[in-house]
């Protein structure tokens, strides 16, 4: 589905170019669940923005379904790290979710029903008539997630979507995400700082590191599906993966320093 080849990201500051990412290569097959982990500031958000077609890499190619991405393409949606600013303050909670469904051809009634369903699944049903600025940080984040899920895009790019959530809500939403992913044959690219979460959710984990950032390794995750919060995490393979990835992260960072 996604195919990224020798991609480079650079910023120009005071006529000096600083290279953030270099020679990044990886693929995301259709229906795959990819997690991305890497130190803070390594370029995960920039990478996701390029994949969403919001920015262009300085060089290299990003292909989505075999076409070069130059602008946001239909079927890809993104949950932003800066969730608070990505909500429309003049729309209600329900309005924000409905806005995400603008491509749907359903009737108004049906749309509202679906939207309310998604709100309920993130625990915001009772706040549907509030405005985003009346929500707590975690609620805003859940709203952004609900909107992305409601949009029905076949590919979800999620940038630390659960960062502001408590453990319980987080676990619930992880399972919700997995359920939706399994149902709809969606592709998910998931940026997180929580290695456990990355392992719990994904088919493979892309570890970034170094300076400029490159792909340290793509770790395949063969844990059986469906997964369970307790059982899966208790699996010895889980700890193995965790150790591997932590090791990669540490080596990547030391390389960077």
């Amino acid at each position: 589905m996604f195919s990224i080849r020798s991609m480079q990201i650079a910023f120009i500051k005071n006529n000096r170019t600083s290279f953030i990412m270099e020679d990044v290569n990886f693929d995301v097959p259709q229906g795959h669940f990819l997690s991305i982990v890497g130190p803070s500031g390594c370029g995960k958000t920039s990478l996701l923005r390029c994949m969403a077609g919001l920015d262009q890499p300085s060089s290299g190619s990003i292909r989505f379904n075999n076409t070069q991405i130059t602008s946001p393409s239909q079927g890809v949606t993104m949950v932003f790290q800066d969730y608070g600013n990505s909500l429309f303050p003049w729309k209600t909670v329900l309005g924000n979710v409905l806005f995400g469904m603008n491509r749907s051809t359903a009737t108004k009634q049906q749309k509202i029903a679906t939207a309310m369903g998604h709100l309920a699944s993130v625990g915001l049903a009772s706040h549907s008539r509030h405005h985003p600025w009346e929500l707590s940080g975690g609620m805003q984040q859940r709203l952004a997630i609900a909107r992305a899920l409601a949009s029905g895009a076949e590919c979800l790019l999620m940038d630390e979507p659960f960062a502001s959530l408590d453990a319980q809500t987080r676990a619930d939403l992880e399972d919700l995400l997995l359920r939706i992913w399994a149902d709809g044959e969606r592709t998910v690219v998931f940026v997180t700082h929580d290695v456990d979460e990355a392992i719990y959710l994904s088919d493979s984990i892309l570890v970034l590191g170094g300076s400029p950032t490159t792909v340290q390794r793509t770790v395949e995750n063969t844990l059986a599906r469906p997964r369970h919060q307790l059982e899966t995490r208790a699996n010895p393979l889980f700890s193995d993966l965790r150790t591997t990835i932590h090791g990669l992260l540490v080596s990547g960072t030391s390389q960077c320093a």
Partner: protein, 279 residues
């Protein structure tokens, strides 16, 4: 990058101006409208050049600009602080709003009448008229600029126990600067217009008086030439103001992530190279 942008010649703009000029010339020479009242552009331009070379137009324009500047500076000095204060304090706004709201829709032409009685017929009256007209756009835009400051900025500053001075100069003013600049951009042409108007109603010099004199003596091409001069003068003012704005608000365009371009990107336009350049 910014500098390169400015050096680039705006061919579209020039072509559009040329098209308008051609339409004008045709309208007049084909006598579609009375060429006495709507003389051909070429005639106006020749007048414009003559008057400029002889120094008449630059002189009257300078007189008007000086008056405008005096009034504008006075208005900024009074109204920007007042606007900031009123934007921060609902109480003050409620106190002055009936007065402000009733005064601000008085036409400057009406205000000039009592102003003449109180301030005479000289420069001070004209400067006051400019002040009066420029004051309200400045006040309202500043006030709304202050109100639009994201509350988070203020809260942050408060928890850092910022003193009033620091709060004002390092938080409120920079954060409201886009609004203040909008106010200035609205106020400058108004100030210019009112300076001209005041010179038309009772004056002995300045471009407004020159315009009126040309009109009264039926020197229509000269009247148009003077009108053109005001357009040029105003255009220059606008350009200067835009430059000052972009110099003062570098952070703003950067914050908005589209440095050098201030348009929201449509999917079709290729805006995305703006922050991440090919290197």
């Amino acid at each position: 990058m910014r500098r390169a942008d400015m050096r680039r010649i705006n061919w579209h703009g020039i072509m559009f101006c040329v098209a308008i000029a051609a339409a004008w010339e045709l309208l007049s020479t084909l006598q579609i409208v009375s060429p006495r009242l709507f003389p051909p552009l070429s005639l106006i331009l020749s007048h414009l050049i003559d008057l400029t070379v002889s120094g008449t137009l630059p002189q009257v324009l300078a007189q008007t600009l000086l008056r405008m500047l005096a009034g504008l500076i006075a208005a900024s000095v009074v109204m920007v602080p007042l606007g900031i204060w009123a934007g921060r304090s609902q109480r003050l706004w409620l106190l002055i709003s009936p007065t402000v709201e009733s005064l601000r829709s008085l036409p400057p032409a009406l205000v000039i009448l009592p102003a003449m009685l109180l301030l005479g017929i000289g420069n001070s009256m004209k400067i006051f008229a400019v002040f009066f007209a420029a004051a309200f756009p400045l006040l309202l835009n500043t006030m709304d600029g202050v109100r639009a400051i994201p509350l988070m900025f203020i809260d942050t500053a408060r928890t850092l126990r910022t003193g009033n001075r620091t709060m004002l100069f390092e938080v409120v003013v920079p954060a409201a600067a886009p609004g203040i600049f909008s106010g200035l951009k609205s106020a400058v042409p108004i100030a210019f217009i009112v300076a001209i108007l005041a010179e038309m109603i009772g004056g002995t010099d300045g471009i407004g008086h020159f315009l009126m004199k040309s009109q009264r003596s039926f020197d229509i091409p000269q009247m148009y030439a003077a009108t053109f001069a005001t357009a040029v003068g105003g255009g220059v003012l606008a350009v200067i103001l835009n430059c000052v704005e972009s110099a003062c608000l570098v952070w703003y365009s950067g914050w908005k992530r589209f440095s050098g371009r201030d348009c929201p990107p449509f999917p079709a336009t290729n805006h995305r190279n703006t922050t991440k350049d090919r290197s």
